[in-house]
Amino acid sequence: MDKLLSLKKIVKHFTGTLALSEVDFDLRRGEIHALVGENGAGKSTLIKIITGIYQPDSGQMLVEGENAIFPDARASYDHGIAAIYQEASLFEDLSIAENIYMGHQEIRPLTRNIKWKALYNKAQDLIKSLEVNLNPRALVKSLSIAEKQLVEIIKALSANAKILIMDEPTASLTKEEIDYLFRIARKLRAEGTGIIFISHRLEEVFDIADRVTVIRDGKKVGTLSKEQLEVDELVRMMVGKNLKTLYPKEDVKIGEPLLRVENLSRAGEFNNVSFELKRGEILGMAGLVGAGRTEVARTIFGVAAPESGKVYLEGKEIAIENSGRAMELGIAYLSESRGEYGLVLQMDITQNITIPILRRFARFGWINRVEERDTAKRFFDLLDIRATGLEQKVESLSGGNQQKVSIAKWLAMNAKILILDEPTKGIDIATKAAVHKLMSDLAGEGKAILMISSEIPEIIGMSDRIIVMNEGRLVSEIKRGEATQEKVLTAALGEKGK
C-alpha cells in the first residue's frame, strides 16, 4: 500500500458548470507528483476537494487506504494533509515558533503557563532539520515571502503531514530560493512524504516531478512519468493542440524614442538608471528579484517619487507627481502582485475593465451601458477570460483570470506606454502565448512596451532590446540578435555570476 492518496471518478458541479468530470488521481509515498493545466481547468477544485474545502458530488477518495471525504479543511489537516499556497496563512505579529505551535504549545501542568524554552528549542530543531537558517524568535512579518513559505512547510512538518500540497509556491521566489525549496521538497520526498506540486512553470515541473498529471476542462487527460516527459507532448495534453510558438514576435518598425529616463535614483532601490523606450519597441527588463526593476517602473508610473534624475516623454521633460498624472500622460502599469491589480473585487468584469475609461461612454454623466459592454466584450474575447460571463464578479475568478481582467483594463485605456511587470507570471501556456501575441500586436500599433520579466526565455523571445538590472544599477544592454541565456543571466547575477 504505497498509495498515500487515491481519488477515483471524482465529480464536482458548481451551479451551471461541471468543474470536475470523473477525475482519477493518485499519490504515492515518497513521490513528487505535479498537477498541471490551464487556469480554470480544475486543478484548484481538485485540491480543494483533497483538502476538504469542497466535497465531491460523487466519487471516492482514499487516504492511506481508508475512505476519507473531509468535511472541512481542519479535518484534512488532522489527517496529515497540509497545503501551502502563495499567500501564507501566518500570524504576522507573532514569532515563527509561536506560529508553528499555536494551539498546542507545551504547558506546565499546574500553572498552565507556556514552556517558552521548549517552544523555541523545538522550533529550532524543526528549522535545523530542514537545514535552513531562520531564527525561531523572529516575527513573521519581518520575513520574506520565501521565508514565510518555509515557515508554512515547517508547520506542516510539525503536524507530521504525510501529504504536502504546494500550490504555485515558486511564483514569488528567486532562482536561489526555488533551488532551496526544491532541495527541501526532495528531502521530504526521501522521507516518504507525498507532495502534490502545482505550477505553471514547465521547466520546474521537469526539474522536480516524478510524475505529471494533466487536467484540461475538468477532465484528467493523462499522467506521464518522468521518463515520458516531453515539452511538446505535455503542452499538447494541456492545450489540446500543438503550439507552434510561444513567442510570436513579429518584426515591427521601431520608431523614435517615446520615453527617456535619465539618471533616475532612489536611495535603497536603484541608482543612476538611464534608458530609452522607443515606439513600437518591446524593451525587456531582466534581473533577479530585488534588482530594482519594479521600483524603477513604479517611479516612472508615479507611485514613488524619484530622488534625482529626469523623465522625458516625447522629448519634453515631465514630472509625474502621481499615478493619475502618469495615466493622463498615457503610461500604464500592470503590477506583478494580484493585490495591486487595481481590481474592484465585488464588481463584475465589465465594470473592472471600463473603470478608468468610463468617460468614454458617458455623455453628460450618463453611462452608455451598451458601448461599455461592447468594449469590455472585445477584451474579454481577446484575452479568452474564463468566466461564466461578463457579469461575473471578479472576486470569484481564478488568479490567472483576474490578471487577464487587469491586462484588459490597461489595454482598454489605450495607453501609449505599457509597463508590464511579470505579465505572464502564474499564467498557463495557452494564455501566455495569447498575451505575447497581444504584446506583439500592440507594438505593431506603435505602442512602447517595457516588459519586466524574470523568465529569461520570455525576455529573449519577446524583446527587441534587453536591459539588465543588478542590485539597483542598470548593468547591461543587449540587442535582440545577440541575446543568449548566458549573457542575460550573467549580467543579472552581477559579480556573483563570476
Partner: protein, 337 residues
C-alpha cells in the same frame, strides 16, 4: 541571519515606544508642574492615581477586545449599571459586607459582558454595532434600576467608602487592585495558551480558525472579561465618588480606548501590551488632571480626549510606515548559503 536584526528592530521599537510615552509623561508633568505647582502635591497625586487605577484595569479589559479586532463601547454603561445597582443594594441593605457588594458588581458586569460576547461570538454581530447597542441599553437600564432615585452621599456606608479610601500594605486599595489585575492580565495574555490565542485570532482570523482556535469562545471570553472588569470598576467608582447617577461614567469608553491607543494597542488587532496600556492610562490621567489644574472647562476635556487619540493613531501610522520602509530596504534576498 538577518531575522535577528528584524526581531530586534521590532522589539526595540515597542520598547522605544513605551520609553517614548514615558518621556512624554515626564515632559507633561514638568510643564504642568511649572504652570501649577499644585500638581505635585500628594493629595493631587492620590486623587489622580485613584482615578487612573480604575481606568487602568478597565482599559486592560478594553485592550483584550481591541486585540481581537473588536471593541467594547459599552464599558461606560456597564460601570454605571453595576455601580448604580450595587449602590442601591447597599442603600437597602447597609449591613451587607463590602466584599459581597464588590462580588455582586463584578457578576453584573460579567453578565453584561457575556451578553456582548454571545451576540458577537455566536450571533456574529459586528462588535462595533453590538456594543454600540448595548451601550445604550445598559445605560437605559441604569435609569430603570434606579427608578430615578440616584445614590447619594448619604446612602454610602462607611465600609463601602473604605473600598476606595482604604489601604492594603500601605498602598491605596485601588492602586493595589490595579497592580494585581495588571500582573494577572500580563501573565494570562503572555504565558497561557488562551492568551496567545487571543493575539493569534486578532492577527489573522482565518489562520486562527485553521489551527483550531474557537472564535466563539475567544469572543465570549474577551467581552466577558471586559464586562467583568467594568462591573468591578463600577463598584469601586461609586465608592470613590460617593454617588451613582444616570450619567456616571458617561463617555468613559472613549477614555479606555484613548489609553489603549496611546499605549500602542493596534486598532487592527493582534498587537498590544499590558505595560503599554498602563503607561497610556497614566499619561491620559495626567493630561486630564493637568487640564483641571490649568483651569480648562470640562467642555474642552472631550476635545482633548479626541485630540489625544488622533495624535496617538497618526503617530502610530507614521511610525509603522517608517518601520515597514526600513525593513523592506534592509531585507536582502534570502541567502541560500
Amino acid at each position: 541571519m538577518n531575522n535577528e536584526r528584524y526581531r530586534g528592530t521590532l522589539k526595540n521599537l515597542i520598547r522605544r515606544r513605551e520609553f517614548g510615552i514615558f518621556i512624554i509623561i515626564i515632559v507633561v508633568m514638568v510643564l504642568v508642574g511649572l504652570r501649577n505647582p499644585t500638581f505635585f502635591t500628594s493629595d493631587n497625586w492620590k486623587d489622580m492615581l485613584m482615578y487612573v487605577s480604575i481606568l487602568a484595569f478597565i482599559s486592560i479589559g478594553q485592550m483584550m477586545t481591541i486585540v481581537t479586532g473588536g471593541i467594547d463601547l459599552s464599558v461606560g454603561s456597564v460601570v454605571a449599571l453595576s455601580g448604580m445597582s450595587v449602590g442601591i443594594i447597599m442603600r437597602d441593605n447597609p449591613a451587607l459586607p463590602p466584599l459581597v457588594l464588590i462580588l455582586l458588581g463584578t457578576i453584573f458586569g460579567l453578565g453584561c459582558g457575556i451578553i456582548n460576547g454571545l451576540l458577537i461570538g455566536k450571533g456574529k454581530v459586528h462588535p462595533l454595532i453590538t456594543t454600540l447597542a448595548t451601550m445604550s441599553i445598559y445605560r437605559g437600564l441604569v435609569v430603570v434600576v434606579s427608578r430615578s432615585r440616584w445614590v447619594v452621599y448619604g446612602d454610602i456606608t462607611k465600609g463601602f467608602r473604605l473600598i476606595a479610601r482604604g489601604n492594603i500594605l500601605g498602598i491605596n486599595n485601588l492602586m493595589f487592585v490595579a497592580i494585581i489585575i495588571a500582573g494577572a492580565s500580563y501573565y494570562f495574555l503572555n504565558h497561557t495558551r488562551k492568551g496567545r490565542e487571543i493575539f493569534a485570532y486578532g492577527d489573522h482570523q482565518d489562520a486562527a480558525k485553521f489551527v483550531g482556535i474557537n472564535s466563539t469562545r475567544i469572543n465570549i471570553l474577551v467581552y466577558a472579561l471586559s464586562g467583568m472588569l467594568a462591573g468591578f470598576g463600577g463598584v469601586l467608582w461609586v465608592s470613590r465618588v460617593h454617588t451613582a447617577q444616570a450619567n456616571t461614567a458617561l463617555g468613559y469608553e472613549m477614555q479606555t480606548i484613548a489609553s489603549c491607543v496611546i499605549g500602542g494597542v493596534s486598532i487592527f488587532g493582534g498587537v498590544g501590551s499590558v505595560f503599554g496600556v498602563l503607561l497610556g492610562t497614566l499619561l491620559f490621567g495626567i493630561i486630564l488632571n493637568a487640564l483641571e489644574l490649568i483651569g480648562i472647562v470640562d467642555f474642552w476635556k472631550l476635545s482633548v480626549q479626541g485630540f489625544v487619540i488622533l495624535v496617538a493613531v497618526i503617530f502610530d501610522a507614521v511610525l509603522s510606515h517608517r518601520v515597514a520602509e526600513q525593513m523592506r530596504k534592509q531585507r536582502r534576498v534570502f541567502d541560500a548559503e
